[in-house]
C-alpha cells in the first residue's frame, strides 16, 4: 500500500500549495497591470505588461540605493558574523572546564530569552550618542546580537571536532590563532553554511532595527523603504506592488538556486 503514490494526499498537498502561491501570483500580476486593467478584473493575467510600474517605483523609492544598502549590510553582517562569532565560540568550546568561559557561554545564550523591546528604547539613545545611526552601526548591532544564538550552535559543533587535530598542530609549532584559522575554521564549513544562511535571511528581511536607528534616507534598507513610502504609494497599488516585488526578488532568486542548502541550513540551525 505504501509503495504506490497516494493520490489523495498528493491532491491535498497540491491544493495547499495554491493557498501558498496565490498571494505571490497576485503580487506579480498586480505589479504588471495598470489601474484600468485592475478594474476589469483583479485576478486575470495582465494582457499587456506595464513595465513602467517598475521604472516608476525605482525612481520614487530610489530602489538601487536601498538595494545597495540592504545588500551591503547583509553581506558585511554575514562575513563579520562568520569570522567573529565562530572565533568566540571556539575559545569557549575548548575551555568549558574553566569557570570564566563556562560563565561566558551562559552569559551569551541567556540573551536568547531577552525580547528586543526591552532594549529597544535605550539602544536608540546609545546608538545616536555613539554616532552609530548608520549602516556600519546596523552591521555591528546585527553581528553582536547574533552571538547569543550562534555561540549556542557553534559550541555544540566545535565540541564534536576531536582535539587531537589541534594538538598535532601545536606540536608542529602552530599558535592558537593559526590553529583556528588553518585547521578548525575550514572544518566548520557545514555549520558556517547554516549560520550564514540564517544570518543572511534575518538581516536582509529585518525591519525593526533599521526602523529605530536609521533616519538618514540615503541609508534606508529595502523593508524600511516600503514602510516609509506607504503614504506616497497611496492607492497606486500597481506601483506599490512593483516596489514590493523588487524588494523580495533578490531573496527569491537566491532561493531558486540554493533551495536545498537553504532548507537544510535552516533545519540544522533549529535542530541543533
Amino acid at each position: 500500500m505504501r509503495t504506490k503514490t497516494n493520490w489523495l494526499v498528493l491532491g491535498l498537498i497540491a491544493i495547499g500549495t495554491i493557498l501558498i502561491l496565490f498571494p505571490l501570483y497576485m503580487t506579480i500580476t498586480i505589479a504588471l497591470k495598470n489601474p484600468e486593467e485592475m478594474t476589469r478584473s483583479v485576478f486575470a493575467i495582465p494582457t499587456t505588461f506595464h513595465w513602467e510600474n517598475f521604472r516608476n517605483a525605482v525612481k520614487m523609492t530610489n530602489f538601487f540605493q536601498a538595494f545597495r544598502n540592504s545588500a551591503l549590510v547583509t553581506l558585511c553582517t554575514v562575513v563579520l558574523t562568520l569570522l567573529t562569532n565562530s572565533l568566540v565560540a571556539y575559545a569557549i568550546a575548548r575551555n568549558m572546564n574553566r569557570k570564566f568561559f563556562k560563565g561566558l557561554y551562559f552569559y551569551f545564550i541567556s540573551a536568547m530569552f531577552i525580547p528586543f523591546p526591552i532594549i529597544m528604547l535605550p539602544i536608540v539613545k546609545l546608538t545616536s550618542a555613539l554616532h552609530m545611526t548608520n549602516l556600519v552601526g546596523l552591521t555591528i548591532l546585527h553581528t553582536v546580537y547574533a552571538l547569543a544564538f550562534n555561540v549556542f550552535v557553534y559550541v555544540g559543533y566545535i565540541r564534536s571536532i576531536p582535539v587531537a587535530l589541534e594538538e598535532a598542530a601545536t606540536v608542529d609549532g602552530a599558535g592558537t590563532w593559526g590553529t583556528f584559522w588553518r585547521i578548525i575554521f575550514p572544518l566548520m564549513a557545514p555549520i558556517n553554511a547554516t549560520v550564514g544562511i540564517l544570518i543572511c535571511l534575518s538581516t536582509y528581511n529585518d525591519f525593526l532595527l533599521p526602523l529605530i536607528i536609521i533616519s538618514d534616507q540615503n541609508m534606508y534598507t529595502l523593508p524600511l523603504v516600503q514602510y516609509i513610502f506607504q503614504g506616497q504609494f497611496n492607492t497606486d497599488f500597481n506601483l506599490a506592488f512593483a516596489s514590493y516585488l523588487m524588494a523580495m526578488l533578490p531573496m527569491i532568486i537566491i532561493y531558486l538556486f540554493a533551495q536545498k542548502w537553504i532548507i537544510n541550513g535552516v533545519t540544522q540551525g533549529a535542530v541543533k
Partner: protein, 288 residues
Amino acid sequence: MTKRLTAFYWMTVPAVILFFIFMTLPALQGIYYSFTNWNGFGKHYDFVGFKNYINIFTDNNVGNAYWFTFKFAIVTTILINILSLLIALGLNAKIKFRNFFRGIYFLPNILSVLIVGYIFNYLFSNVFTIWGKNLGVSAFSTNILGNEHLAWIGIVIVAVWQGIAFNTILYLAGLQTIPTSLYEASNLDGASRWQEFWKITFPLIAPFFTINMVLAMKNSLMVFDQIIALTGGGPGRATQSISHLIYTGGFQGGEFAYQSANSVIYFIVIAIISVLQLKFLQGRETDM
C-alpha cells in the same frame, strides 16, 4: 600553555565588551529608567519608585495589548502547529514531486514579514471582499481589518500563512528520523493509521513538537511587523500588540520610562512562559 590561554582570552574579550555595551547595558538602562518619569527627550527626570509598575496594572491600554497579544499568540501557535504537522505528514507520504512541493511550502519563510503584511493588507481590502460578496458571507464582504472584532483574525491568517513554512520543514525533518521498519511492524500487527500516528509517529517527533511550540509561541508573542503592515494597531487599539505599544508609547507618546517598565514586565512574562513551556513539553517527551 599559558600563552595558549592568553590567546583564548583575547578571542573572547572584544566580543564580551561589545555584547555588554549593546545588549546588557541597554537592558540595565531600561530597568533603571523604569523607576523614573523620563519622557525620552527632556533633560530632567525624577525617580518615582514603583509608580510606573503600579500604573501599568491599572492601565487599560496595557491590559488591552496583553489580551490581544495572548489571544493572537495562542491561536496562531496552535494553528501553525496543527497545519504544519499535517502538511509535513503529507510531504512525508509517498507522493510525486515531493521536493518541488517542499520548496513551495518553505518559500514564505524567506520573505520579509513586513512586505508580506502589505500584500495581505491589499488582499483583505480588495480581493477577499469580492469573494465575501460572491459567497454571500456578510462578515467577509467588508474588509475584516477594519472590523474591531475581526481584525485580529486577519493578523492570525497572515502569521499562520508565513509561520507554517518553518515549522513544516522541522516536522518533516523529524518524521524522516523515524525508521520505516517501525511502520512495517505496526502494519503486521494490524494497527490503524490513527493508532499508528498517536502510538509511533507523535511520540517519536516529540522533541520537534517542543521546539516548534516554543519557537512559534515566542515569535507570536513578539508580533510587530504584521501589526505595522496590516492595522497599525487599530481599529482603535483592537490589535495593538505589546511590542507595538512599547514602540509607539516609548518613541511617539513621550512615555519612555513608563514603557520601559512595561517592557521589563513583558520580559519577565516571556521568560516565564518559555521556561514553563520547555519544562512541561520536555516532561511529556520523557513520559512518552
